[in-house]
Symmetry: C2
Subunit: 499 residues, 2 copies
């Protein structure tokens, strides 16, 4: 195969992958947003069929030869072509190392396990879910071995979500969080709670929908390229930079719930919307890693969205949409309310200060699961003990404990640390940004364009063109240092709670 043939083959593969990813992405989005409930079986058939097609598209000798040809002649191809081949080769290797029958067995297991978990969570019945979790752990351990038997299995899994991440790096990271933040968390918990009563009124859904439109405009999300839909659990999905979707969930008795979902998912969306034109319709046209994605979503949600200047920009919009409910509320009261910090049970509802502890617990749990140092039957007790140790809260039921998250039921172990890393990356990015300009006057005026342009320049436009570590380096200009994150939280919450 000549290099020209190899490049043509790679382009053909990517065009096909784009089409299938788009189709499967829309099928999945439709399933979550609009499809009637009985449609699940038919959709599973279609997805199963198309998954088979995409597997065979990638895993065949012609593709292998094409990718190897390109990678052996790096000097004769563009950096973009080299990076495309590199990432495709990684996908190829990951796919080819897992025997097809195990891959199918795992997919089937995950589909079942998801359904069982939904029921088990409703009934707080860990015993029903445990056999599935056990098998999921086994599969993950085995798959990690196939991928790289020379490394500890959990490191291999971490690497799958956040390239280059190891327990060697994460152990001190989470230790630092625990050591430095626990005193703040305890101290804050002893202070009076801010008034959040104005959030707990009736906010009609159609008013909240109009508010989402204003919020998206405030964030600078272009509506001709970014849609919004409603789902039980909010998420962002993207097909190309001209077609990004966020979802939210409206709670009629809590306007802050959807508000911060929209801002968080809006952050993910800005990343995807900001990828460069040149990389569209290739495998580079998407955010680099989960951690970098979370760095963006949590940047907008917390660093911007829960700042006093942003609250000043937000308040008039809220008062426009909810004149009665928000009557007489000041920006300072809003700021205090959106930063209410208390040790709690549910990760997705946790405040900015305690969030990292929820992740630290899951990180320790996952290490135990993969190492086999804890039996699956012992996990709920360990979970509950850790929640007591780390956050001082008593877990009343597995529903509000170990069964709360979908990730393990969905087959994913090693994902959680990305959330905490993303939060920490974001703070260091903000620090770098503040060295170049003061974003807060803009934010207070409700103008995020310079903020988004800066992140776009440093991160968004590259997609997956740069390696994750080069990207992070590009944005923070120095080695990653979690002390930025810890100090930011110490300072913010000390001031808020007058510690």
């Amino acid at each position: 195969m000549t290099l020209e043939q190899a490049l043509a083959k790679m382009n053909e593969l990517q065009a096909a992958q784009q089409a299938y990813n788009h189709a499967m992405g829309v099928l999945s989005l439709d399933g979550d947003t609009a499809a009637p409930s009985a449609s699940a079986k038919g959709r599973a058939e279609t997805m199963g069929y198309l998954s088979g097609v995409t597997y065979r598209l990638l895993v065949n000798d012609e593709v292998k030869e094409a990718l190897e040809t390109i990678l052996s002649e790096r000097s004769r191809v563009t950096p973009m072509q080299a990076r495309q081949a590199e990432l495709l080769k990684e996908d190829y290797d990951d796919s080819v190392r897992i025997p097809m029958d195990e891959y199918i067995a795992f997919s089937t297991l995950v589909t079942q396990s998801n359904a069982v978990w939904h029921e088990a969570k409703l009934k707080s019945d860990y015993a029903a879910f445990a056999p599935y979790l056990e098998k999921i752990i086994d599969f993950n351990r085995r798959f990690a071995g196939y991928k790289d038997a020379t490394k500890p299995a959990y490191d291999v899994l971490l690497d799958g979500f956040e390239k280059g991440t190891t327990t060697e790096a994460l152990d001190p990271f989470f230790s630092l969080l625990r050591e430095k933040l626990t005193p703040v968390i305890l101290e804050v918990a002893s202070r009076p709670e801010p008034d959040t009563s104005f959030f707990q009124q009736r906010f009609p859904l159609h008013d909240q929908r109009l508010f989402s439109d204003k919020l998206m405009a405030l964030m600078g999300l272009p509506r001709d390229r970014c849609g919004i839909a409603e789902t039980e659990h909010p998420f962002t999905t993207n097909f190309n930079k001209w077609d990004v979707r966020i979802t939210t969930h409206y709670a009629e008795n809590d306007v802050a719930d959807s508000m911060y979902s929209v801002i968080h998912e809006g952050g993910h969306a800005l990343y995807e919307l900001g990828t460069a034109d040149e990389i569209q319709f290739t495998n580079l046209a998407s955010g680099a890693t989960m951690g970098l994605h979370e760095s963006q979503s949590r940047f907008y949600e917390n660093l911007i969205g829960r700042s006093l200047p942003f609250c000043r920009a937000l308040l008039p919009l809220m008062q426009e949409c909810f004149p009665q409910q928000m009557q007489g509320v000041t920006a300072e009261q809003l700021y205090a309310a959106v930063n209410k910090a208390r040790p709690s049970l549910i990760r997705t509802q946790a405040d900015e200060l305690t969030y990292g502890m929820h992740i630290a617990i899951r990180y320790e749990m996952e290490k135990l699961m993969i190492s086999g140092d804890a039996k699956v039957s012992e996990l709920p007790a360990i979970w509950n003990r850790m929640y007591k140790d780390y956050l001082g809260v008593t877990v009343p039921s597995d529903r509000e404990g170990i069964l709360q998250d979908v990730h393990w039921a969905g087959g994913q172990l090693g994902y959680f640390p990305s959330y905490a890393l993303g939060s920490a990356y974001g703070v260091q990015m903000l620090s770098a940004m503040e060295k170049e300009f003061d974003p807060w006057a803009d934010v207070e005026k409700g103008d995020l364009s310079r903020v988004t342009a800066w992140l776009g320049e440093k991160i968004h436009r590259y997609g997956k063109l740069l390696t994750p570590s080069a990207l992070l380096q590009n944005a923070i200009g120095q080695p990653f240092d979690p002390n930025f994150y810890v100090e930011y939280l110490q300072k913010k919450f000390s001031a808020l709670y007058r510690l």
Copy 2:
């Protein structure tokens, strides 16, 4: 190839077609309901790619051999297998005659043309749409020639939507309508208008959405298998009997608009929802022809939905959702209002009496387009002249004239006559139904189950298993006779307007 191999190949083909049709159907639905406007280009790429794949799935020698093997051994296969092969062979023949590059170009054109038409309609800018229409006409003419060069092109197109239909049959059909109904239309137009003022109030969209839910329940549409979304132009789409979607369009100042869209599309949906389990995930699992589909949608919309008994069932639901707007309105007033008959501009808003004239105009327009007897640039003037001639109305803008319908933008020429045929089929079906039982006592109670069961038994369950003519025969039990339709309209509107 053995018969067993041929049947296996046919099953494999159908499984693949189901998956691709599902994916492309959802992509298209998403494009119409939820996707942001700039997403059109990316979707066109994906649809173009997948169209190519589905073309190659069907058009290859192995498929040809399999289908010919099955069709040559009809005595050894089930009637269902034989019918599947027959329809696939028709599709194969249609496709193989069209060069692949033209097929792909047409699919891409249609996706673009749809988007352009949306804009053009908004701006009443026929000139923007004209180049697309010109290409669509050319493609249709050429495709008709590929399909059967021995027949007039328009007859070939008509046959594609309504098997066996020819201008030879339609010319006298539309002449009959024009001859018999024009006097009634003129006479009715000279009588005082019924009071419809209660429809022209403010009906907030969120109340109308709740009303749609009640209306769907009244029609017996199972919500676990049937969704509803919002589009500019209402339609129904189906992926299998467990996943059918209708769409509607809400006008805040006219509740009847969406109400009859929901009932009309609900009729289409009941057809698809009623196809038998045994034919799901095969090419038989869908309505037989456009005309038969319209016979069902217009059955519910007009024969049921605009009857006095149905108005009696409807009124309490309307008063529940719109207590102020519908206060003091009687069922008789509602019946008179929903049957207001006046020559008008917009087909989808036309009354039952004048509807056929809108179709007659489109039929004549399509004949001119395909014959080439009119230039594309002349079409708006011709349209406007015909509206004057047939209905006595003056078309104020192309938006309310030639740009009003999606069909031509969607690449479909020859579709419109099915609407009028469907209306006529439906009246003859109702006549057959009334010989077996009196549906009106049920309808007045808001119970459509026996009506739907009868149609289900005669039409819905078969999908495409029977030929269209056998199906129609099955329901009406005698030769098709458009006089049933004409007489029904004469009788109904003579009574309503005391002619």
